[in-house]
Symmetry: C2
Subunit: 145 residues, 2 copies
DNA sequence: TTAGTTTATATCGTTCACGATGCAAATATA
DNA sequence: TATATTTGCATCGTGAACGATATAAACTAA
């Protein structure tokens, strides 16, 4: 009974599981360089544009600052980023890449392709990727309200 | 530069974000009954089949027992499940629903539809759901290795 | 200018996730 | 039957997530 409660009919469980397993696929590649997956996401944001306040990084990742702040402090302790008070707005903490943080981009150059290949299969191919991206983006937009 | 490192090109970030946001959509509905989303997943498993050892629940959710054990202890403390040593195999802990745990199914009867409606949009409809499910299932199967 | 409000970040507490490790019960092997 | 291995679960430590709350700087309005 209760078809609607079956695990097989749950979108959220699939997203939750796919997310966890794919994050696990990153783990050995990132762990080698002392990084976690959320820290890698911060690097993606800073590689695109260096020197951003905490709030901009959090917004870009759709996370709260109370998640990002401790994460950034760990990255600062690892010497990957620096955090300094904003000049024009003293409330802001500006996060900048160190040389170590910048150099990680070269060291992680194979990561996107390696992980990308790990998910390729019958229904998930370079051709079907865009359609999947659109659906996930729409779900995200819908839930951001 | 470095198209491959752009956040917009990352499948994992989309899965991670969609999973988090959809879990957040469950939060008010479940919180009303003192439940978290992972606890709700355990209930889905036990509503399908009551009285399962910890290992079977963990396998069904593709989680480790060291994640599930503390979670079950919290649910036991809430009076939602009981945990008792297995009769035939004393290593096993058999998890059973209490009346409170069974009764929650009625109280949460609207949850699947409410959350389901929350994700409906242009590209995600009852018609496109099956295709999305297949892709996510394939990704999950691929990564389970 | 002062008082009230908003904004940016930080702190705290709770609950996952998960790698590493420990331990006892069950099973396999010598 | 004694010993070794495997299995099932638990414990510990670390790093997210996130709600609630705090604090200081910036802004707004009286």
């Amino acid at each position: 009974m209760e078809e609607k409660f079956k695990l097989e009919n749950q979108l959220c469980f699939r997203l939750y599981t796919a997310s966890r397993l794919l994050t696990q696929a990153y783990h050995p590649l990132l762990g080698e360089h002392g990084l976690t997956y959320p820290q890698y996401l911060v690097l993606l944001v800073l590689w695109e544009k260096d020197a951003q306040p905490v709030n901009d990084i959090a917004k870009r990742l759709l996370l709260e600052t109370n998640t990002v702040t401790p994460l950034l402090k760990r990255m600062e302790a690892e010497g990957i980023v620096t955090r300094s008070k904003g000049k024009e707005d003293a409330r802001q903490m500006i996060v900048k890449l160190t040389k170590k943080g910048r150099d990680l981009q070269q060291k992680l150059t194979d990561v996107p392709e390696t992980v990308g290949n790990a998910v390729l299969c019958e229904s998930v191919t370079p051709e079907t990727f865009p359609g999947l991206f659109v659906m996930l983006d729409d779900i995200i937009d819908q839930l951001k309200q």
